[in-house]
Amino acid sequence: MPKDNTVKRKRRSTKLDNIFNIQIILSEIQEEIVSYVRDYGLDPFNTVFELITHDEMNEVASYGGFPSRYPHWRFGMEFEELSKSYKYGLQKIYELVINNDPCYAYLMKSNALTDQKMVIAHVYGHSDFFKNNLWFSQTNRKMIDEIANHGTRIRKYVEKYGEEKVEDFLDKALSIENLIDYHAIYSPYRKRAYYDIDAPEEDEAKVVRRFKSKDYMDKFINPPEYMKEQKKKIDDEKEKRKRFPEEPQKDILLFLIEEAQIENWQKDILAIIREEAYYFAPQALTKIMNEGWATYWHSKIMTEKCLEDNNVVDYADHHSGTLGSNPGTINPYKLGVELYRDIEDRWNKGKFGREYDECTDMNEKADWDKGLGLGREKIFEVRRVCNDITFIDDYLTDEFCDEHKLFVYKYNSQTNQYEITDRDFDEVKRQLLFRLTNMGHPIIYVVDGNYRNRSELLLKHQHEGADLQLDEAQDTLKNIYNVWQRPVNLETLLDDERKLLTYDGSKHSEEVMGETA
């Protein structure tokens, strides 16, 4: 959650007493909130709360919530960032929830009691979302064990092959951790855990069948044109089989695991990174929905049930802190919760469907109320089936956009400033969806593992109107080269020109391509 000034409380008794008291008070609060949560019809995992210091919180958060994760310096880097932001008062993490069964939640020890109440209510919102949202249904619910297992495996490799070597490979692998198929969380091959690279190739020699014939009859029984045609067919087929993957594939990590000529421990590292990327993907895919849902429920529970008079101000202060936004950014908490409320309101009043859409009288539309009362039911349905993309696509309305003053901004190179460029609903929606598509990453396919018939790798960037950052793309190609170990190519569009970027192991090159099919 966003920033807050730390609240200092006076110690009334000894430290130990205090901790003990807090534990008791907290478990009382927890019990109280669980009862409200159930009353509202939420269905969270069993949730375990742990109180930790800010230092521990920063550590846990650096590891993405899993203190037993594999060792890597980037977690140390994350730690520095979090610690410094905490130190300079830029931000403070109130809570951290882990998608696991049972669900684990870390609470900051220094939070005031009112904060803890709000945070616990918030956590239950997440816990319910993890359990019931469709996009999480394929995630590993014993991920805490799994990640510890990953950690052990990589530590073992470090022991065996040396820190430098394993770290070098990890550095490269992490460069491509986003090259998975984000929108195919259900796809069958993504579950394939066993990579059989030694499967024998079917290589039975195919020849065109000739009918037996006498010499003088041969050209009638086996007409040369026909024979030629058949031969071509077989050759084509062979050619096609040499091409792999058969279809362009977005899960490039999987392709590399299956096809790259690297050692098994290296494949295992790629597999670990891929597994974790798929585990974290739904969280990024539902950021707006998930935070909105948790915020919706913490504010509901706090304001309707358990807010005592003397902490109204603190609550209001921190709640508004959570929902504050800078002009240049969208706060997912705010957008999410407001959209849920809007949906609830519309379905309560029946502001949907053909009749409503076709109504042209603005006054009538504004006062529209059929008294359906379907709001609550509807938002539960939304939280079950949507992800951020469908959430925005299906439920963001013109009126909402207007009321909440959403706009599109763009970088203006002449003034060196970000400027508001549009408030048009379609444009806002298009831009939002673009941001969310593939989670804001460029869409890259692996097209050919035997490019130019020289075992080179060909990747293709599906251009969606925005160019790649060239220098970084080149560095990434270099890292992929280290995995693939043959020249690596990327087809992309730069300044409206179709280009092939290549790294051949010693240097980068750039080549303009003709129009390709």
Partner: protein, 371 residues
Amino acid sequence: MVKRIEKDYARFRNIIKGKIKEDLRKYITQGELIGKKGKYLVSIPLPQIRIPSFRYGKNARTGIGQGDGEVGTPIADGDEALGVGGAGNQPGEHILEVDITLEELAQIMGEGLELPRIKPKGKSTILADRERYVGISRVGPESLRHFKRTYKEALKRQLTLGIYDPKNPMIVPIREDKRYKSWRVKEIPQNNAVIIYMMDVSGSMGDEQKEIVRAEAFWIDTWLRSQYKKLDTRYIVHDVAAKEVDRETFYHIKESGGTRISSAYTLCSDTIKKDYNPAEWNIYPFHFSDGDNWGSEDTKKCIEIITERLFPIINVFCYGQVKSAYGSGQFKKDLDEYFQDKKEKESMITSEIRDKDSIYDSIKDFLGKGK
């Protein structure tokens, strides 16, 4: 048990170590860093190692925002890293920039350059006023209004008067509700320092040379400011004659003609005598030139002033020789030769600054002794 994160953190620092020094080099030689943002604020990024990945470039710098404003209204400076849109907030997606104070910058610099802390000479005799916010008062300027306390008071009043309406919870504070932060003044003893910058502005010192002096002076200022509560700076320029100028003039003035360094040293010594009691002040004369002087007679006179009039009262004398196409570089040679086997050589630091890249080493020369 050593915490896991400490190991990863140490690893990260070790990778950066080689790197942070490189980065610092870059900072020190970049002129534009001196253009401070706001008062006393320099924005430096956190050291980060960016793992490269396929991502969108600059022409994709668009996003969605929320709030007021017409089309065309600027919402942020182009150099700021906006947390762009949508899902955002993913690790590694944003570069966090923190505004740090000069003090913190000095700390980072001290760490990077491995500078020792300065042991101030003499006793700290001067008392300075420091304000501290210690309490709450019913009167005060609006700028010090304590928002939460005021709000609470207003809420309390409305509740007791029964005019609080939960359906329309509007809280309007009246004069009696207002609470203000109040402060107390404390006297704290402090150490003071003065830097006297002297620069040769004769024809041979070009813009490039001055730029180097400027960058160097900025970092010296920053460091000494972190070591002393109060820091005065004085500026003296000279060609054949010396005069005191303000900061702006110091860096931009251009004279032609010859060079007589002794004129500056004389003025420096006079200035100290006039304004800075050595018992109360730590005194740092810095002199920058391209090494040309009128002749060996004048150089002899310079050394005389330094040893007899300056050394007894200053902390250390620093001479930085900036390389220029026209300068002979003789002056530093003369100084070094003279002080080589003298016992006062501890108080004399000379450094040659060949180009922007060597500013880093030169600062270390000057400040690395902890004087």
